[in-house]
């Protein structure tokens, strides 16, 4: 509620943010759309004209498209499962009264603050190196043959690295959600004779449902565009080429801008499908 006066002031004060974001969205998006309909090879002849939907067709039919989609889905799905399941368990554990809770929380959160290039590099060399990595030492200690992590088990390795980064995020949000649960509900259930497992299944889990959905949606959006972790570890080799990485290669490495842009449009559509679900939840929350 306000006056004409404050409303016009408000419009004025909102203008810079709106104009900037509008520009940031529209200009590159229009350009991507434009390029996606052209045969455009900056290093091999430049702009070779309008080709209709050819780039879209070629991107879909290229032999690397479906493997890239598959890789993307496996990595995103894998990280989601690991981080959500472990996140729930960890959040339940951290919710219990323990000694040194503050310190433990810090230890658990820390990986989220490590920049992606560092975590990729540290895991790749100091943990997954088949000769000198910690994991190799561990395997040898138990008499097993060290694993060539990033070439023989490339996708699980990437899932492991990315999960390590995102588990703290899931844990933190789920922990916040658990702590907002009214303890009287649990006490009432306990008085009603519900054992711990039932209390978890019928009270805690439904209470967490919303938080879990949000974790899944937000992580999906970020995970669909993970880049540095692959760039630094395998460079897209050994079956780790995700959709994002494929587009990156088409655009900057092969300099096939038209084809890459068509891929970009697919990526935007994919992200928007996920975003739509997220925004509906967030929007509903705004009304409350």
């Amino acid at each position: 509620m306000a006056t004409r006066h404050s409303r016009s002031a408000a419009r004025l004060m909102m203008a810079p943010a709106v104009v900037l974001l509008l520009g940031w969205m529209l200009v590159p998006l229009t350009m991507t759309l434009w390029f996606s309909f052209r045969k455009y090879l900056p290093l091999r002849g430049g702009d070779l004209g309008f080709v209709g939907f050819e780039n879209y067709g070629r991107f879909l039919s290229s032999s690397s498209f479906w493997p890239a989609v598959q890789t993307t889905l496996v990595i995103v799905g894998g990280v989601l499962i690991v981080s959500v399941v472990l996140g729930i368990l960890l959040a339940l554990l951290l919710d219990q009264p323990i000694w040194g809770q503050g310190v433990v929380r810090i230890l658990v959160i820390a990986p989220f603050f490590v920049m992606p290039t560092v975590s990729a590099l540290v895991w790749k060399n100091m943990f997954m190196d088949p000769v000198n990595g910690i994991l190799a030492h561990l395997w040898r200690f138990f008499g097993a043959e060290p694993v060539q992590w990033l070439s023989q088990a490339s996708i699980p390795s990437i899932i492991m690295i990315v999960s390590w980064q995102w588990l703290p995020f899931a844990t933190l949000i789920l922990l916040t959600a658990i702590q907002s649960l009214d303890s009287e509900q649990l006490e009432a259930a306990e008085m009603d004779g519900a054992p711990p497992l039932k209390r978890f299944a019928y009270i805690i889990l439904p209470h967490l449902a919303r938080a879990i959905t949000i974790v899944i949606l937000i992580q999906t959006i970020f995970l669909l565009s993970i880049f540095a972790e692959i760039f630094v570890t395998t460079g897209g080799a050994f079956g780790t080429r995700t959709l994002t990485y494929l587009i990156f290669q088409r655009v900057l490495e092969n300099q096939n801008v038209g084809l890459g842009s068509a891929g970009g449009v697919y990526a935007i559509i994919l992200a928007n499908i996920v975003a739509l679900f997220l925004m509906r939840i967030v929007g509903r929350n705004l009304d409350a």
Partner: protein, 276 residues
């Protein structure tokens, strides 16, 4: 939900939680420890945990060889300036939406959020080519602007949720007391919102510091921040564990410290107020 439990149960929980915490933290701990080892000790078999000859030479070598300070400076400038710029643009916008809401406020907020969902790779080439044409490639200015833009929706959302908690009557009281818009913002809103603004700055410095897609793709030498500096160690000649560790430690230490202060804000900032 803090409830009374038996000491035995608490001890078991404590042991379990600490074990998990230490496992998750171990890669960071190991990196920090290794950074103080000699290269030989860093790859010793079996690995040496604590009893090695502590040395600082790796840090000296890293600084000398790759001019760490320059990357650090770029990171500080880019993360700091993009955040401050974002807050300067975000405070008025968030004020508008929190205190002068209209029918479109919700749509605008959600639209701003949707720009954050735009996959970077979808607009990589346009930004790349625009940067070349505007002479912004490998410049701190260009990167600052791009990172400001990708974080602006988060900044506005966080500020919005903090401002929403300030009762509108207090701002109206200021208006009745003769304060104009400027005085209302400076003397009343800002002092009351300081904790929220500080949290917003903190989280966004962290996000900007760790941003790795645009920093890797839009910089080469001059404007490269620490993300790019570390990526340069992935090439084979950089494979010396101790030096790699020293470089990594230097890249993450400042932000780890900031991050520990901002756990609560992290939840609010990254879930757009949907989880409290």
């Amino acid at each position: 939900m803090a409830r009374a439990v038996t000491p035995r149960r608490k001890a078991v929980n404590t042991a379990l939680a600490w074990a998990v915490g230490l496992i998750l933290f171990f890669p960071i701990l190991w990196t920090i420890l290794t950074s103080f080892k000699t290269e030989a000790q860093a790859i010793a078999d079996p690995p040496i945990f604590l009893f090695f000859d502590w040395t600082l030479e790796n840090y000296a070598i890293v600084q000398e060889r790759s001019d760490y300070m320059r990357f650090l400076w770029n990171s500080i400038i880019i993360a700091g300036c993009s955040t401050l710029l974002g807050v300067a643009i975000g405070v008025p916008a968030a004020w508008s939406m929190a205190f002068v809401p209209s029918k479109r406020t919700k749509d605008i907020l959600l639209w701003m959020l949707s720009t954050k969902m735009l996959p970077a790779v979808g607009v990589l080439y346009p930004i790349y080519i625009l940067f070349i044409q505007l002479g912004l490639l490998d410049s701190r200015v260009g990167l600052t602007v791009v990172i400001m833009l990708i974080n602006l929706p988060i900044i506005i959302w966080m500020l919005y949720t903090y401002f929403k908690e300030i009762p509108g009557e207090i701002l109206e009281a200021a208006r009745m007391d003769g304060a104009g818009l400027r005085e209302e913002l400076i003397h009343v809103l800002t002092p009351m919102a300081i904790p929220g603004i500080a949290s917003t700055v903190l989280l966004n410095v962290i996000l900007a510091w760790n941003e790795a897609f645009w920093t890797l793709n839009l910089t080469a030498v001059d404007a490269a921040p620490l993300t790019a500096f570390i990526a340069s160690y992935s090439s084979p000649e950089g494979l010396f564990f101790a030096k790699l560790s020293a470089a990594s430690t230097m890249a993450i230490a400042p932000i780890l410290i900031l991050g520990w202060f901002s756990q609560k804000q992290l939840v609010r900032g990254l879930t757009f107020g949907a989880v409290k």
